[in-house]
Amino acid sequence: MKTKKPFFSAKNLTVAPYTVWMTLFVLIPIGLVVYFAFTDSTGSFTLENLTYIKKYAGTFWLSVELAFVSTVLCLLLAYPMAYIISKMPANKQGSVILLVMLPMWMNFLIRTYAWMTILENNGIINRFIGMLADLIHVEFNGFEMINTNGAIVLGMVYNYLPYMILPIYTVLTKIDNSLIEAARDLGSDSVQIFGRIVFPLSIPGVISGITMVFVPAVSTFIISYLLGGGKTYLIGNVIENYFLGSSGAINYNVGAALSLLLMVMIVVSMGIMNHFDKDSEASGGGIIV
């Protein structure tokens, strides 16, 4: 026997704000993206927009490549750092983590502009080296740093590094010290403890770190725009151009189709990655797709 629940029950009322929020800012936008992706300018159904992927395959691939390199670099930098922080005395950990997060309190754009002034042909680094070169009377024409793929990767690593450090640090601090003592007790030296206990138990943090760096890196357009100087065109820039470019270039339908494909690609790759993390679900920390 079922009784009809009243519409204004306490449960419904408490859930309502989230339902409204999710509908307005997640479901409807995604619905719009899907709608535009499968329609033409007159509003009738078409699959033609999706064929633009062929045109931009190279750009897609470059975006994935740069995002992948940045993610790997972030991981290589962040893991040792997170490990060292997690081994510090408890009262110091807080302030070091604060330092890690401090740059995030500044506007993302301003930080990226700052890198421009550092890397420019007339920037701080080149001028400094030029001064040194003058002292020893060597000719120096400046390194070309800005407007290279290297500069874009640097910008990504710099901006997204905290997102790699924090989840790994959190997982590492959650590892029960008695597990490490138990491993030592059973004859493991420090290297074996790391390889057999600490690293396997920190994988959920690594996975969420990778997710949090790779996803924004693969879809960025600001970093490539500012540090790539328009020379390097990433998929994010392509999509941006379809929405905000010069009036002749604007085409919401193609832009939506490319966004949809990017989204699908990200969801699929995250799904594959979480698959590796299946065993350690219990320890938490991973992002579930």
Partner: protein, 379 residues
């Protein structure tokens, strides 16, 4: 048991900041014995264990193992293994891989490992659990895996840090028997830490009673129970009535206004002493036949016996008797000479052994608390 000393602790001192946790511990442990470190929270028993395991280095003093000083030998090279309070099983490994962990570190061949793991699983009655995830096991089963994992590497000494603390009473009693059996069948040394005096009495060959970072008494369970050295030990091990007395001469002691014959000697004439009488050693008799007379102030039925509190001249005694008494009854008490135990005065005199503030609830509140133990000992 032959007199072969395996571990010798000499003048071990440990401090954390201003807190002196261990104050000059001297203790030797014989090969093959079941030794228990017993004491309340924060007494230093877990720290002592960690010094032996190599997780805590002493500020001063020597740890000697088989005649060699091992202060500088790191934990992973010591021939001792530990059962941790909360088992510390590796959550990403299954039962088999947990038990095989130490053997793989030693680079044993896989067929040797398989054989040893099977042997260990049957030792702890967990055959068929090889592929189970440790998180799917009950507390008791996890405990057994922890034991199997530690014993798989064939240590000379097994250190057990309150291993049964998290189990319920019934399971605890079963595991006590099982642990003792395992210890006897393997013939290796067990060093066992607990705050549970019953556990200590029923399992140990030797009990070391600790308080405040100092060893109060070392002895067999019967010695500790029958001949406690001071008021702390008498009170911590079982229930005790502890009253002030004066040793008039050898074998004669006066307390509560009466002269008693006893068996203790070697005190100075008229020396002030603490007198211990166990509640079960007092006989209830008619008032005219009693050595002491008192009024019953509380009666509790305990199943096997009644626990009654008797007011004798303002001092409350606890007496366990099988005869029912009523509150307000006047009764006489009779104490045999061998039921009286005399102790020298100590810093603990007067702190214990009076039941005037006694109530069931109070008793439970003052039970050593496991959680508190954790935070104090692991700093």
């Amino acid at each position: 048991m032959e007199n072969n000393v395996l571990i010798d602790l000499k003048n071990i001192c440990v401090s954390f900041g201003d807190d002196q946790i261990l104050k000059s511990i001297n203790l030797y442990i014989r090969d093959g014995e079941f030794l228990t470190l017993l004491g309340p929270s924060g007494c230093g028993k877990t720290t002592t264990l960690r010094v032996i395991a190599g997780f805590q280095s002493p500020d001063t003093g020597d740890v000697v193992f088989e005649g060699k000083r091992i202060n500088d030998v790191p934990a992973h090279k010591r021939q001792v293994n530990t059962i941790f309070q909360r088992y510390a099983l590796f959550p990403h490994l299954n039962v088999y891989d947990n038990i095989a962990f130490g053997l793989r570190i030693k680079k044993e061949k896989e067929n040797v490992i398989a054989e040893r793991v099977t042997e260990m699983l049957s030792l702890v009655n967990l055959k068929g659990f090889e592929r189970r995830a440790v998180s799917s096991l009950s507390g008791g089963q996890q405990q057994r895996v922890a034991i199997a994992r530690a014993l798989a590497v064939r240590p000379k000494v097994l250190l057990l840090d309150e291993p049964l603390g998290a189990l319920d009473l019934k399971l605890r009693k079963d595991m006590q028997v099982e642990l003792k059996k395992i210890q006897q069948s393997l013939g290796i040394t067990f060093i066992y830490v607990t705050h549970d005096q019953e556990e200590a009495l029923s399992m140990s060959d030797t009990i070391v009673v600790m308080d405040n970072g100092v060893i109060q008494q070392i002895g067999s369970p019967t010695d500790i129970y029958n001949e406690p050295k001071n008021a702390f030990v008498a009170d911590f091990i079982g229930e005790s009535n502890i009253v002030d007395g004066v040793m008039l001469k050898d074998c004669v002691v006066e307390f509560s206004g009466h002269r008693f014959e006893c068996l203790d000697k070697g005190f100075a004439e008229n020396e002030d002493v603490d007198v211990v009488v166990r509640p079960e050693d007092v006989d209830v008799v008619a008032t005219d036949k009693g050595m002491l007379k008192g009024i019953v102030t509380s009666v509790t039925f305990k199943g096997v016996h009644y626990e009654i509190i008797v007011d004798i001249g303002g001092f409350k005694w606890m007496i366990q008797t099988t005869d029912k008494q009523d509150v307000g009854d006047k009764i006489g008490l009779f104490i045999e000479p061998d039921a009286i135990h005399i102790m020298k005065k100590s810093e603990y005199s007067g702190k214990y052994g009076d039941f005037s503030s006694f109530s069931e609830e109070f008793d439970e509140l003052s039970q050593p608390d496991l959680v508190a133990e954790d935070s104090e000992d692991e700093n």
